[in-house]
């Protein structure tokens, strides 16, 4: 079972690495923030799996703190007065 947990944690880590492309490409500030939000959830999943694999409950405490606090950065972003308008002007990226 340990292999299964670690294997899944590994693939989830890879999804974070690949998802970094969205932070790099944007195009809007909100897109970048979204990617960070997804990484937060993925990191919680990875920590749960690592904790189970290692049988160490302290790792789950780290996951708990992530789960509790990742909203704060996103809420700060949403409530910020000054939106950097320059990154917001590029409306869409042409993926179609």
């Amino acid at each position: 079972m340990t292999e299964l947990y670690l294997g899944l944690a590994l693939i989830l880590l890879l999804t974070i690495a690949i998802g970094l492309v969205r932070i790099l490409r944007g195009p809007t500030a909100t897109d970048r923030m979204l990617a960070a939000q997804l990484f937060g959830t993925t990191a919680v999943a990875i920590l749960l799996l690592l904790g189970q694999a290692a049988g160490n409950s302290a790792i789950w405490d780290v996951a708990l703190i992530f789960a509790l606090l990742t909203a704060v950065a996103a809420v700060t972003f949403v409530r910020r007065k000054d939106i950097d308008s320059t990154t917001e002007t590029e409306e869409h990226d042409g993926t179609d």
Partner: protein, 328 residues
Amino acid sequence: MELALIFDLILLITLIALAWLLLASSDIFRAVVLFIAFGLLLALAWVRLGAPDVALAEAAIGAGITGALLLVGLGRLGSAEHYRGTRTRLTFLQRLSAPVLIGVMIPSISLILLLELSLHASATPGQQGLVNVLLDVSGTNHGVTAVLMNFRAWDTLLEKGVLLLALISIWSLDQARPLFRQNDISPQLTGLARLLLPIMIIVAGFVLWQGDHAPGGAFQSGAILSAGILLAILVGYTLPTRRQGLSLRLLLAVGFSVFLLVAAATLLSSDYLLKYPDSLAGSLILLLELVATASIAALLAAAVVGGHPPDDLSKPVDRSSAVNGGQT
């Protein structure tokens, strides 16, 4: 075992790549988000290194405070346009310097580290044995807490001083200005805060209590509390003006001051800085952890708010000109 190694390798490569990308980013906002992602992965790295104490601190600081601090700081810079890096023409040598630095330095440092590890890794178990022997008289049941609050408490004392100094520097720069839109708070956000705030306080207490026998302690607990304070500010709670004078300053300084008093008392009574009497060690550590938690929570939150409270507390700050000035 193999899988764990691959996991570590990918984590390492991603961390280095992230660090490079965020330092090289010409768009500051992108750098901030990359830094948030960096914090997440760094916590994973601490977990893999077998240091859950540091991972807890990194999670609390990285997820709760750093992101908010940088985003707020970015807001204070005004429009990002002025701060977007301009590309200057580099000479051939300048352009060569980065690849040479990376191509030579990183391999050589890695080589030295690898040699060092292969020679000494198994030979030196660190101070673990010594800490275990002395744990009984340390006043706590967790090795890391014993080191931080007793054996090397002077490090922690100075750390509290650094945090206080940092806030004094921030306060000396400017007056605090409301950074968030006061109107237009969505009811869902208020609901989220009402739900999360009590849980944050309970978890902060739990982490502080747990520091006695497992990973946890004042810094982690204070960081969680400060994220709670920040969330409260974000949904529009304000500190009553009467509390922003002496009471606030006392709260900010109490952690360092009490630590300093204990240090002075131990120096006078035992000739050694922060050498607690054995019978009092437990109570002293508890006292220091409690006041440190309160101060750290207040200091970190105040650092995010930035700037000292308005001098004339009866008047609200007129910030419309200052904030919008940079934007147009």
